[in-house]
Every structure is written in C-alpha cells, then in structure tokens.
C-alpha cells in the first residue's frame, strides 16, 4: 500500500462530503481497536465461542481421488454460525459499532448472507438493524429475508436500478448519508471507501491465517494453489492475505461469468471491466458507454456485483493473483458434484471456486495441494438450483 487507503492506484475515498468525517472517525477508531487487547480478546471470544472458529480444513479425499490430480482441501467457512464467512467481518464491525456508541447498524446484502450475519450480530449485541436488499434478490433469496426478520432486522427491498446488490449498496450509502450521526454502516465486502476494504480484509484474514497453520500441521508445507470466488472479494481476500508474501503460493480468484464472458450476461469484473470510480473506490467496474455502471448478471446473488475490491484490482495489476471466470452452468455442475461426492452442499457463490478447482486439479501432479475456500453453505440455494434445472418443488 503506497499511502493510506490506496493499493497501487486503487482504493481511495470517493464519497459525498457528508460522510467524510464518519469514515475518518471510523479509521481512527479502528486503528485503536486493532491494537487494543480488550477488543482483540472480545473478538477472539466471539469467533471461538459464538461462531465456531477455527473452521475446519477438510481433506476432500473422494474428490481428490475422483479428479486424479492435486490434493484438494476445503476451508469450511460454510460451517460458521450463519453459514458463511460473512460472520467474521460482521462480528468485528458490529463490535466496533457498539464501542463507538452507535445505536443502529445498516447493511447491504446480495444473497442475504451478509444481511443475515449483520442481523445476527446486531441481535447479539443489542443494536437496531436495517438491511437493504435489491428487490430481485429478495425474490431469489426469500428465505433469507424471513431469516433476517426473525432475527429482528428490518429488511428494505430496493426498487431502483437493477434491483440487485449494486442498488442495495446505493441505498445503504444514501441512508447512511442521512443517519450517519447515530448509525454504523456495516459494509459486507472488501470494497467501498477506505477504511472499509482494509477493515474487512483484516477481519477476514483469519481464514488464511488458519489455513496456513492447519496446512503446516497436516502437510508440513504451504499449499500450492488457493482458490476462492470473487464478487466484491471478501472471502478471497481473507484467504489470500496471509499468503501474499509467500510468492510460491498461487492465488486464484474466480469471477461469475453468468452465461459466459462472451455474452452481455455476466459479472466478470476483472475479465471484462475497466478502471473506474464508484461506490467510494477506484477499481475495476463493468461499465457501459459513457461510464455508467453496466447491469451485471450471475445465478449467484452474492457475486452479482459490477465491481471488485481495490486490493484485488491491485493484486491483478501487479500479477500477484490471477482472476478467472466460471459460468452459471459450471457453478451448478460443481454444486451438484460436491454435494454428491463429498456430501457437502456448497453455496452457489463458492461453487464457482469449486468449478475452477475441478478444471485445474486433474492437470496437476498428486503432490500438489489446492485449497478451495468453501465460503458458504448451499442450503439457501437449493430452491434456485431446482428452478435453474426446471425442477418444480414446493418450497
């Protein structure tokens, strides 16, 4: 990082003046938390006693044997409380919100995983919670809407634009501009204005730290390849971060290619996007003529976002990480494959990472190791996969 909030040329704080004092305040407060032993102890306790960390690093023996190449491990973030890696970030941010004396937290959500996690942490820590969710996603992920409401959160469907994650972020930022004095914006990915990409990455970096320790214990060496799906990029950043200096470890982010990068129905930001400025950051975005933000598409509501976190943009430009696309079809195949082979139903987001690993594993030798970040569980996706396959089920 060359200067505060920048990863190479990416990052920054491109937000309305109304919010500038709030992000500076958060930056200052977070710096103190980061070195505060009480904060760190409370967070550790939440991780271990509430969300069930460390998560397992599971050797997928059947999958490995079936593919006949590299040894495959799954980092089981799907086993966390609330069913995905999102809880790691949220427990930290809501704890910060509480310590800052905020009364209310707001969040955007795509698939609903971040919304559910935020609603959960807000319930636990006694804060009011409102989640903004694109109307389209409230339909795709209706169960998660009810889940958030069960947890005491208010879910506000966003009816502007493409009615998906991008618009949910717009709505959350607009609410925050109005409510910033008593409200904390709990951002769900390594994106947005500084300090969010840094805070979310730090909180998610527990994933990579655990993988490193677990791998050394199990195999006595570092893995060769790390694979994670990328929308905004928080689970990937969390997995990659502790390995950035270990140059021999290959880092691969898998983007949602929807119906294919050659079509206009995809969400493959690095493959098809251009550098731009949006949602508080300079990064890669899928854009249309004139620099408007283009509508994107993926079967996965969690990857259906036209941008990517600025640190990923930097890892891409500096060639430290590689970003590749996986289509809806490939992801659904991987979803079914992992369910049948290992008895683990992965989130459709994580299935993109599984799909790419399935492509490369057979070509690698048996002494190589791939770690796939299984960022979430697939229960939430069962109905939409059934719809995709044309199976009629009574939800």
């Amino acid at each position: 990082m060359s200067k505060a909030g920048r990863y190479g040329e990416f990052g920054g704080q491109y937000i309305p003046e109304t919010l500038m004092n709030a992000v500076h305040e958060l930056d200052e407060f977070y710096k103190k938390c980061k070195v505060d032993s009480t904060f760190n102890e409370e967070l550790r306790e939440l991780f271990e006693e509430y969300s069930g960390r460390p998560s397992l690093l599971y050797y997928a023996k059947k999958m490995t044997e079936d593919l006949g190449g590299a040894k495959i491990y799954l980092k089981r973030e799907d086993l966390n409380h609330t069913g995905s890696h999102k809880i790691n970030n949220v427990l930290g941010q809501v704890l910060i919100a509480k310590k800052m004396g905020k009364k209310r937290v707001i969040a955007e959500t795509g698939a609903g995983q971040h919304g559910v996690a935020t609603a959960t942490a807000a319930a636990l820590m006694g804060l009011e919670c409102e989640v903004f969710m694109g109307e389209e996603d409230t339909i795709r992920q209706a169960l998660n809407v009810f889940r958030m409401e069960l947890l005491g959160a208010k879910v506000t469907p966003v009816k502007t634009g493409t009615r998906t994650l991008k618009d949910a972020v717009n709505a959350a930022m607009q609410d925050w501009a109005k409510s910033v004095e008593d409200t904390f914006y709990c951002l769900g990915s390594v994106m947005g204005p500084h300090p969010y990409p840094m805070i979310v990455r730090d909180l998610q970096s527990v994933i990579g730290k655990e993988v490193k320790a677990q791998m050394i214990k199990k195999e006595g060496k570092l893995p060769d390849v790390l694979v994670a799906c990328v929308g905004g990029g928080s689970n990937a950043m969390g997995l990659f971060y502790d390995f950035i200096e270990d140059k021999e470890v290959e880092l691969i982010g898998v983007e949602a290619a929807g119906e294919g990068v050659e079509t206009d129905k995809h969400a493959a930001t690095i493959s098809k996007g251009e550098v731009g400025i949006f949602h508080g950051m300079k990064s890669y975005f899928v854009q249309s003529e004139g620099g408007s933000i283009a509508p994107v598409y993926s079967i996965s509501a969690g990857l259906d976002y036209p941008g990517i976190g600025p640190e990923h943009a930097y890892l891409h430009d500096s060639k430290r990480a590689r970003y590749v696309p996986a289509t809806d079809r490939e992801a659904v195949m991987a979803f079914e494959y992992l369910s049948r082979t290992e008895g683990i139903i992965p989130a459709i987001e994580s299935s993109h990472a599984v799909a790419y690993a399935m492509k490369i594993a057979p070509k690698m030798s048996k002494d190589k190791i791939i770690v796939i970040n299984l960022s979430g569980r697939g229960d939430k996706d069962v109905a939409s996969i059934a719809r995709y396959k044309g199976v009629e089920i009574n939800e």
Binding site: G12, Q13, Y14, I15, P16, E17, T18, L19, M20, N21, A22, T160, G161, K166, D167, N170, M173, Q174, A177, K178, S179, V180, E181, E274, V275, G276, I277, F278, H279, G280, F285, Q287, S288, E289, G290, G291, S292, I293, A294
Partner: protein, 261 residues
C-alpha cells in the same frame, strides 16, 4: 475573479441573492434542456447547473434519479451535452456549471473533459462524490483549463470546512441537509452553527442547496448565503410538464428570484 464569482457580484448589485436552478441534461430530451436553459436564463437566473446523467447517482434522491434514468434512456452522452453547451454559448454567456459523478469524467478522460469544458466555456463542475481528499487528480487539469471545481461542505463537515473553504474555487456549495437531494418540508440542520464555521473561513460566494423547494424556504434561508440552489423542485416541474415545461419553469424562477431580494 472568476465568471462564477462575478455572477454573484452582479446579483448583489441588483440587491438580491443569486438564484441557481438545476436541470438534468436530456430530460426529457436534449433539445428541451437547451430551451429550458434559455428560459431559466431569461427569467433572471444567475448561474445554471446542468446535471450529466449517471446510472447510479448516489447523492441524489428519487426525483433526480428518475430524471437521470429518463435522460439515459434517451441516449444522452457527455458529447451531446458539450454540443448543446456549444450551441447555448452562441446565444448567452450565463455561467454554466456541470453536476456529474467522478466516473463520468474518469471514463471520458480527465484532461479531455476539462479541455472540452474550456472550449465550450463551462465555468465549473460539481462532483458530489469527489471530496477534498481526492480532488487533486481532477483539480490539476481543471486548473490548467480555468474551470472551477466547486467544493461542497455539509452539516457534518465541521472543522473540515476550514481546509475545504481555503482551496475552494468558484463558489462554496453549502449542503443544507443530511441525506440526498430532494425537496423537504423543513430543513433540520442547525444552519446558524454551520455558517459560523463557513463564514469564518470562506472568502468566496456561498450558495445553499439540498431541499430548497419553494419561495417560503428561499425567503427564510436566503440570509445565510449569497445564493440558493434549487434542483429537485425544478426537475419535478420538468417531470410533470415534459416538453411544455418552459412556461412553468419561468414562472417558478421569477417567483423564487422575487423572494431573494
């Protein structure tokens, strides 16, 4: 003194505050926007703000969001807006300010954008998502081309106002309310406290905007600043009357200007 600052001086000489209306370029069509600018100019507007449509105008409320969508659906591009301004410049030298989001300029090319502003005599730009900290990247080109980047201060800015005001060009855009643009029944901010800061540090004209919708509000608020900015209330008129909005726009502008004396 920049042309924008002279516009405030001229209003002052007339014994009133400046009136700054806002229209979205291409709403409903770019030819209509051109006519609306002439109408607002004739009605006595001191500076006219032209919004360049963007898919995700995060600082704008529902009224201006809808105008952005209408304009984009009609295929408005920044080049078409520059062409319109070039035409307008044959008729009037009323100061013009663009309101647009950072990505629109970034995508177009920062240098090329400000050069075209200079060519077509666009006097300033307002970038609601470009705070003080990020200004330099755009500011160096703007300065070379003699275009003012208008800085904004908000009710939450507090001690930031000093640094912002010190480097502000053209006029200082004082955001009256929290949240996004849009008409409001009442302005909740403690403007007196906010302007104590502003008045201490700001040496250029001050314009108050966000939520000012009618002559009662204009009358009540005008004393804080050197001018008032009206956006959503005007865009609402255009939304209602479409192509036929000229007359109601003139009526509205004249009424508002009447209150600013």
């Amino acid at each position: 003194m920049s042309k924008l600052q002279k516009a405030f001086e001229k209003a002052k000489e007339k014994g009133r505050k400046a009136f700054i209306p806002f229209v979205t370029a291409g709403d409903p069509h770019i030819e209509d926007t051109e006519r609306f600018v002439y109408a607002l100019d004739k009605a006595g507007s001191d500076v006219i703000e032209i919004g360049i449509p963007f898919s995700d105008p995060i600082a704008d409320g529902p009224v201006i969001q809808r105008a952005n969508i209408r304009a984009l659906d009609n295929g408005v591009t920044i080049d078409k807006v520059f062409d319109m301004v070039a035409k307008i410049r044959k008729t009037t030298d009323v100061p013009l300010v663009f309101l647009l989001y950072a990505n629109t300029i970034y995508y177009y090319g920062i240098q090329k954008f400000f050069e075209r502003c200079q060519e077509t005599e666009v006097d300033g730009v307002i970038l609601p998502d470009l705070p003080f900290e990020e200004k330099e990247e755009f500011g160096i080109y703007a300065k070379d081309c003699g275009v003012d980047i208008i800085s904004l201060v908000a009710p939450t800015s507090k001690e930031r106002i000093r640094d912002i005001a010190k480097e502000a060009g053209g006029f200082l855009y004082c955001v009256s309310s929290m949240g996004v643009t849009g008409t409001r029944d009442a302005i909740q901010t403690d403007l007196k406290a906010m302007f104590e800061y502003i008045d201490e540090y700001c040496k250029i004209p001050k314009a108050l905007g966000f939520g000012i919708a009618n002559k009662e509000q204009a009358k009540a608020l005008k004393d804080y600043a050197d001018g008032i900015i009206v956006g959503s209330a005007i865009v609402k008129i255009i939304e209602e009357y479409g192509k036929e909005a000229e007359e109601p726009l003139v009526r509205f502008a004249e009424e508002m200007i009447g209150e600013l004396a």
